[in-house]
């Protein structure tokens, strides 16, 4: 499961534990685990049935884009904005597209978000920093108004923070997957773990260079990239992943100090890999996207009690600095990164302190706690006051319709098709499109 699916799964788990009747609906591929709630896979017809059945709809991402009718539901709608994917598009579209196309792609992605912001009854995001950002967007689209404000001047009942959580049960290891197992990694080596995929906004290159700089002093140093393979086989490998492997090859590190895992790591067994590491690392470039995203892999480090070395500047960097969980270093600074890693590896006591601090803070991120605002909302769901007021609602509906029109700009067909292909639904959408054309 990738991030969004995990998040949805945890939400469903927490809500059904609370006694709510929950259906987890996916339009993507689905290979269901045993669950205490209903898991349904389907397309428009099935989703319409589910919509009619439920009281509250929680969703994230492009759902309305594929199912535009959903925007007109009378049901209470919780919109999860934990992923500012329009900022991601700025970077992603950079290398793939021509200028006009980029303008369109970015604009229609913004429109997708604007449409849901105009319609949501309650919003979730992943950090206070994100909340500040989304408050701005809500303000620009007219959602901060006397009605929402008078209902709760802190606006927490309009948008609240549900970070990514860590499993409530502590991580436990069944067997070694890296230490003494991977060819070239011994039982007593010092293992740095890159606990996820390598996307374009990450910066594995600085990390590999830092390993190169450290390898003389710390010959037992090993860097292990866990996720070279995306859970969804249709997501293409990104440029940065290729560059990371090329750099490591070029420096002669691959197989001696740097290792790339091209195999599949089942979500339920990831602790076997995590607990083999000494330090969890996450480095990224200084982009607006990285400032607002929430690095979920770092939560895995928290869960596994790993000291953390990461790039400063986002919510995670702040957390690491404020609570002494390891070190947060400036972006794109090999020397600083090497120094931080070197110091932490050399100083066992400091590492133990960091690990203790991690274990201390981890419970604060337990899913059960993280999801509290959502659970509280679902206990007493209500429509947003400005969406119940006829006049304000009319205005907001118009904002939503405008956004809907823009989202369906010239590239809508292309981008949505690409997205569906990625979700493994290309065939179906294509057939649908053809049906419409016939």
């Amino acid at each position: 499961m990738a991030g969004p699916a995990i998040r949805a799964w945890k939400m469903a788990t927490a809500l059904s534990a609370r006694g709510h009747d929950v259906t987890l609906f996916t339009t993507g591929n689905c290979d269901p685990l045993p669950a205490p709630f209903t898991v349904r896979r389907g397309w428009t017809d099935e989703l319409k049935q589910a919509e009619a059945w439920c009281d509250v709809i929680v969703f994230q991402g492009f759902v309305i884009d594929g199912q535009p009718w959903l925007a007109h539901t009378d049901k209470t709608m919780v919109v999860d904005l934990y992923d500012p994917f329009h900022l991601e598009q700025l970077e992603l579209s950079r290398e793939t597209s021509e200028h006009d196309v980029r303008v369109e792609v970015v604009a229609s992605t913004v429109a997708v978000l604007n449409e849901q912001i105009a319609r949501g009854d309650f919003f979730l995001c992943a950090s206070e920093k994100q909340r500040d950002f989304w408050l701005g967007a809500l303000g620009a689209l007219g959602r901060i108004n006397p009605l929402t404000y008078d209902a709760d001047p802190s606006l927490r009942s309009l948008i609240d923070v549900v970070p990514f959580g860590v499993d409530d049960e502590p991580a436990s290891q069944n067997r070694h997957e890296i230490r003494g197992v991977v060819d070239g990694i011994g039982s007593d080596d010092e293992i740095l773990l890159w606990g996820g995929g390598v996307y374009n906004w990450f910066d594995p290159l600085t990390l590999i260079r830092a390993v190169d700089a450290l390898k003389e002093r710390r010959p037992a140093l090993r860097l292990y990239f866990l996720g070279m393979k995306h859970p969804n086989p249709e997501v293409p490998q990104m440029r940065m992943a290729t560059e990371a492997m090329a750099l490591s090859d070029g420096l002669g590190l691959t197989g001696t100090h740097v290792f790339f895992n091209h195999d599949w790591v089942p979500y339920e067994q990831r602790a076997d890999w995590l607990l083999d590491a000494d330090i969890g690392v996450s480095t990224h470039l200084d982009h607006v996207e990285t400032a607002f995203s929430f690095r979920t892999r770092v939560l895995d480090y928290l869960w596994a009690g790993l000291p953390i070395v990461c790039t400063a500047g986002d919510a995670m960097g702040e957390l690491v600095t404020d609570h002494g969980l390891g070190a947060a270093v400036p972006a794109d600074d090999v020397a600083a990164l090497a120094r931080a890693l070197g110091e932490l590896l050399a100083d066992k006591a400091a590492r133990a302190d960091a690990a203790a601090a991690v274990r201390k803070i981890a419970p604060e991120f337990a899913w059960s706690r993280a999801l509290a605002p959502l659970v509280a909302f679902c206990d007493a769901p209500r429509r947003a006051p400005d969406l119940l007021d006829r006049e304000t609602a009319g205005r907001l509906a118009a904002v939503g319709r405008t956004a809907a029109r823009q989202r369906r700009g010239p590239l809508h067909v292309v981008t949505s098709l690409r997205r569906h292909v990625r979700n493994g639904r290309g065939g179906e959408v294509l057939r649908m499109a053809l049906r419409r054309l016939r």
Binding site: V106, A107, A111, D132, F133, L138, L141, A291
Partner: protein, 1180 residues
């Protein structure tokens, strides 16, 4: 109907019936007409003499015509009494209504009308359905998107004629029906339009519509099968003479027609290949039409006649701008640019073969290239050679020598491509010349002109790599004639001009900016053109790899010197008189003329005979003078003869100015290079340059920054004024800065000039003279002219007003209007600003969210800087650079209730509604019991500005302290202290306090008063949540307590008051922290903008902000003056409603239909749509 003539034929058809019914079948006297489901208010123009109302669920740039009323509402619940209208129409709405509610909608229309109801909509005939499918799929194929409305038709299913008519029969509503949008027209004409749109041929699309509406409608368009059906319910006695639909044919016939339609569409789609000009008489479309004309099917023959009629009309009146400029592939790849190479030839027969052969060998796609030779009257057999050997060249023989510039322009006009490339005939091009030029061409980023590299014929020497110019307009080519290796050529470098002998330029830009000035005849027309492009905001760039080889002076060396000199001198002068701005031209013109005279003397060797001109010298009146000397005089004379026209041309150029001279001067490269190298002339030039102080005006001028303050500067400065002033002061060490202040007088404060602006015009004038203008808050709304300036607009967003204003307006009924206005003001600012500053990283996050929703975070902005710090950065509040002064005691021992040894707790500013001084007063009541000599001093209660409404909090604070018996004894309220005197109060206090409520605003707030406390070394007790309380906590500068906790607040005060040692330690830390927070370091992000404003101006040109994503949102939030006026009127009416609340309540309680009552009540009618809100407010 005339007003609709130029609209889409579809829309025209739609409205034609109601128009005819209104004009032909109903009485002439004004009537009331309602159009349901039109957001634009189309009927306002259609029926100017009637009272018209348009209603839709949203508004889209609605008409505000006299007698017209746009309304927002639902068609299921029309806000009108029964029979309120004489005529109701609704166009293409029924099919967008869920099928099970359609009759409900019609019933509501019938209820509100006392006359006919005209319902126009496509109905679900198999032929209409197929027609829609065909069009929608063609749009997807050609334009890459479907038509959303048609998608929705498919989702909702087209209305079933039988169901609707059966319902009408059942409810005994009489009706008539007829159709339009003959599907045999509808589909092919939509195909043509989609094709033309895809080819960027928009002008022709409109003309097709016009011709269709004028020539084909209505006669030819009413045939069956028709796409649209008009139902006239309760028809008037006499209906206009319109054909009723033919009876439904058999299923087989319908099937056959569906097939025929499909065949028609598919074959037409094939004929419309991406490069097809449909108007061409021998193209594939013409073939297709001819085949239709010869068809057995009467329908097809009629279609052929219709298309021919429309096309003939278009061909008769061709419009120049309709040329098929950009040919795009159906995919969305980079546009494949078509290029026309234009050569001018005058007796250059020996040059033509190598030149044209090198063009034939270009690697640029042949289907995108055309070659045009403009022949200036050659007599050497060039024309014959061209006709014989180069049949693929288009030759435009002129018959005589028109000059270079007119010939080039002739070629550009004749071309049909997006770009034109100019090449001298005595050149040959490297095979990748064209593709390299096109590669560097980037009109989206203003690079509309690309200069190629020119080398000598043998490829060893430089001809052109960089164009420079001196201050009197003499262009030059850097490194001309030098070996290649000695000259530095930088790919992509901005150049003042491209050599006219080898360049690429947008054809549209070339033709619309005036191109090469025809009056130049020859020489420097390229310098003048390049310079003009920069003035007009475009860019010229160098493409190093686009190489041509030139026979040096192939043609021009055949002219004698004096002829060339005249052209050089005249054109140089003409060029500076066109392109310099007023200020610079005034400085430069006299020196230029002085030096021109000196050149006449130098070149003509005139100084030899000086004695004859002294009094008493040789009396002989005649002297032989060389023609080259007189060429200079002729040059000036030519200019004088054409001065009227020259001044007109100059004004056109200056009106189009987008860049200041200062920005362009940097591109001159060699402003003081002498054009002659005789010692005499060089010395003369030096004297003139020095004597006129020209060097200074060509040096990099320091940029001017204007900080606009909405309030006065000086004593009793308010927060926004303080900020504007301090930013100005800090920036003044880098660039010249002035502060604009309201009022009429100029002055100076602390060495910073203050410029008074009594009105909006003055402010715009001041701002336009500055490179960078810093504005705050509502400034733009008060002075909208600021948004139009070429200056870089920096918007200071240090304060997230939205929250404050909601709090401020919270309980007033007009709050919603006020907040709508706020959102609109803020969105305007976000659209207008080139750069934004705010006070903290958290605020930056918030504003980034807003900017993002506004579409301001677009790919251009991101490409310039992925961290977006070039879009918005943090300029917090700084501290003054001197320690606080304490000139004289102001409180302790001076105030009657404050003894010298009392302990003072200071509240260092106003009591805005989002603060929580009441909690402080409650806590202080506890404190004063334990520490009787503690005093709580409020520095300012009343505001110094009358335009801010007095806050309810101030009243509450006074009241509460009176209730506690502490008023004016232990709790003292000061008058708002002057800016300078404030320091004394800070110095006399022992601790400072700040308390705010737990509001959304708190997290984003920047409580600048806490900075004052730090500055004065005052330990702070503050509530948590904002960025500065985080600082207090982190640096241990005081005690931070959660908001609203009175006990903890009291404890914190007691702890500090009772522990002088702890206070002293905190005080020392405050001073250390304060020493690091200076205004001077705060303004760093602004320094960069002040020094390099052009960066931001370039970005402005590239961005798409406010255009793509938020256009309509902008409308929703009323980004227009008339809408603002309406909002204000709304507010007044709300106040009115509040005043008359009892009467209203009574009306509402006793009637079933409150809207009807309101409508009948004079003076209240306009507020019908506001009634509900007023009632909600009343009931609350």
């Amino acid at each position: 109907m005339q007003s609709l003539r130029s609209q889409s034929f579809d829309l025209y058809g739609r409205y034609s019936h109601v128009f005819r019914i209104r004009t032909e079948s109903l009485p002439e006297a004004p009537i009331r007409i309602l159009d349901v489901g039109d957001p634009f208010g189309t009927i306002a123009a259609l029926f100017p003499d009637d009272e018209t109302v348009s209603l839709d669920i949203y508004e889209d740039n609605p008409s505000f015509a006299h007698g017209h009323q746009p309304l927002i509402g639902s068609g299921f619940e029309l806000p009108f009494v029964d029979g309120a209208f004489d005529l109701i129409c609704t166009h293409d709405v029924l099919e967008h209504i869920p099928w099970d509610r359609r009759t409900e909608f019609i019933a509501e229309l019938l209820r509100v009308s006392r006359g006919p109801v005209v319902l126009v909509a496509p109905f679900g005939d198999p032929r209409s359905v197929r027609a829609e499918q065909l069009i929608n799929s063609y749009f997807v194929a050609r334009l890459g998107h479907s038509i959303p409305a048609l998608d929705e038709h498919a989702d909702f299913v087209l209305p079933d004629t039988d169901l609707i008519t059966a319902w009408l029969d059942e409810t005994q509503v009489p009706y008539a029906r007829f159709g339009d949008g003959w599907v045999y027209h509808w589909v092919p004409f939509y195909y043509l339009k989609a094709h033309l749109l895809a080819a960027g041929f928009e002008g022709v699309v409109h003309r097709i519509d016009e011709a269709f509406n004028a020539l084909l409608f209505p006669e030819a368009d009413h045939a069956t099968p028709h796409y649209r059906t008009t139902l006239v319910m309760r028809p008037p006695a006499s209906l206009p003479d319109l054909p009723t639909p033919a009876p439904q044919p058999s299923d087989d016939e319908v099937r056959a027609q569906v097939d025929e339609l499909t065949q028609l569409a598919l074959t037409l789609g094939e004929a419309l290949s991406p490069t097809e000009d449909p108007l061409s008489r021998d193209g594939r479309v013409a073939e297709w039409v001819a085949a239709r004309a010869a068809s057995d099917s009467a329908a097809q023959r009629q279609l052929a006649t219709s298309i021919t009629t429309v096309f003939d009309a278009l061909r008769e009146t061709p419009a120049a701008d309709d040329a098929l400029d950009v040919v795009r592939e159906p995919s969305f790849g980079k546009p494949r640019r078509r290029v026309a190479v234009v050569l001018v030839n005058w007796n250059g027969i020996e040059h033509l073969p190598p030149c044209l052969d090198s063009l034939a060998a270009q690697d640029y796609p042949k289907d995108l290239t055309e070659v045009i030779v403009v022949d200036n009257g050659s007599t050497d057999g060039s024309l014959e050679l061209l006709a014989r050997d180069y049949p693929w060249v288009r030759v435009l023989p002129q018959g005589h020598n028109t000059g270079f510039a007119p010939a080039v322009t002739m070629g550009a006009q004749a071309a049909t491509s997006e770009c034109v490339a100019f090449m001298n005939n005595d050149m040959r091009a490297h095979p990748s010349w064209l593709s390299e030029l096109v590669e560097a061409y980037d009109p989206d980023n203003n690079v509309v002109c690309v200069a190629g590299q020119i080398q000598s014929w043998d490829g060893e020497r430089v001809d052109f790599v960089e164009g420079v110019m001196n201050f009197y307009g003499m262009g030059d080519q850097v490194g001309h004639g030098k070996p290649l290796a000695h000259v530095d050529a930088r790919d992509g470098q901005p150049l003042l001009f491209a050599c006219g002998g080898a360049m690429l330029v947008s054809r549209h830009v070339y033709l619309t900016t005036g191109g090469f000035d025809p009056d130049f005849f020859a020489y420097f027309e390229d310098v003048d053109f390049g310079w003009r492009l920069w003035v007009m905001g475009y860019e010229v760039r160098f493409a190093e790899k686009a190489i041509t080889y030139h026979r040096l002076h192939g043609t021009s060396s055949r002219f004698p010197d004096h002829q060339r000199t005249l052209l050089y001198e005249r054109n140089g002068l003409r060029s500076i008189m066109k392109n310099y701005g007023d200020e610079q031209l005034a400085k430069v013109l006299a020196p230029a003329l002085l030096l021109l005279t000196k050149r006449a003397v130098t070149r003509g060797r005139l100084d030899l005979g000086r004695d004859a001109y002294s009094l008493g010298g040789d009396r002989e009146p005649n002297e032989t003078v060389s023609r080259i000397a007189l060429a200079h005089i002729h040059a000036v004379d030519d200019l004088i003869n054409g001065l009227d026209e020259l001044i007109e041309v100059r004004e056109r150029v200056q009106r189009a100015r987008q860049r200041t001279d200062e920005e362009i001067l940097e591109l001159f490269g060699t402003p003081f290079a002498p054009v002659l190298h005789d010692t005499d002339f060089v010395e003369a030039q030096q004297k003139v340059v020095d004597g006129f102080g020209l060097a200074a005006s060509f040096q990099q001028r320091a940029r001017r920054v204007l900080c606009v303050s909405s309030y006065e500067i000086g004593e009793k400065m308010r927060g926004p004024a303080i900020r504007a002033f301090e930013i100005a002061k800090a920036l003044s060490t880098t660039v010249p800065v002035a502060v604009a202040v309201p009022g009429a007088t100029d002055g100076e404060v602390d060495g910073i000039p203050t410029l008074g602006y009594p009105d909006e015009q003055t402010l715009v004038r001041l701002a336009s003279a500055s490179d960078v203008v810093l504005i705050q808050g509502f400034m733009l709304r008060q002075c909208s002219g600021l948004a139009q300036l070429p200056s870089v607009i920096v918007v200071d967003l240090y304060d997230p007003w939205l929250f404050e204003n909601i709090e401020l307006h919270g309980e007033q009924p007009e709050a919603d209007v006020a907040i709508k206005q706020d959102v609109s003001v803020i969105n305007e600012l976000l659209d207008a600003g080139d750069f934004f500053i705010c006070a903290s990283e958290r605020q930056r996050d918030y504003w980034l969210g807003m900017l993002s929703a506004r579409g301001a975070i677009d790919s251009a902005t991101y490409a310039a800087d992925p961290t977006l710090r070039q879009l918005i950065d943090v300029v917090p509040f700084g501290l003054e650079d001197h320690p606080p002064r304490h000139a004289r005691p102001v409180l302790k021992g001076v105030h009657p209730h404050v003894a010298a040894d009392d302990l003072v707790v200071l509240w260092g500013g106003g009591v805005w509604d989002w603060f929580d001084p009441l909690a402080v007063i409650e806590a202080f009541a506890v404190v004063v019991e334990r520490v009787p000599n503690a005093k709580l001093y409020f520095l300012g209660l009343e505001l110094s500005s009358p335009d801010v409404p007095k806050m309810k909090m101030a009243e509450a604070v006074v009241l509460r302290s009176k209730q506690l018996g502490l008023y004016d004894t232990s709790i003292i309220f000061g008058d708002w202290a002057p800016y300078e005197e404030r320091e004394a109060f800070l110095m006399e206090a022992d601790i400072a306090i700040s308390a705010a409520k737990d509001l959304a605003e708190t997290r984003l707030a920047f409580r600048s008063r806490i900075l004052d406390y730090l500055w004065a070394g005052l330990p702070v007790v503050t509530t948590s949540g904002d960025v500065l309380s985080d600082l207090v906590e982190r640096e241990d500068l005081g005690i931070v307590v959660p908001p609203g906790n009175i006990t903890m607040l009291a404890n914190a005060m007691l702890q500090l008051l009772g522990n002088p040692a702890r206070r002293a330690a905190m005080s020392a830390r405050c001073e250390r922290v304060a020493s690091e927070m200076s205004w001077s370091s705060c303004v760093t992000p602004l320094r960069k903008v002040a020094l390099e404003p052009w960066r931001w101006r370039t970005l402005r040109a590239a961005r798409v902000r406010g255009r793509l994503v938020t256009q309509d949102v902008q409308m929703m939030f009323a980004n227009r003056d008339e809408e603002m006026a309406r909002l204000r009127a709304d507010r007044d009416e709300l106040v009115f409603l509040r005043q008359h609340s009892e009467e209203l309540e009574a009306i509402v309680r006793h009637k079933d239909r409150p809207y009807a009552v309101v409508r009948k009540t004079p003076g209240l009618r306009k507020v019908a749509s506001l009634l509900k809100r007023a009632l909600a407010a009343l009931r609350a």
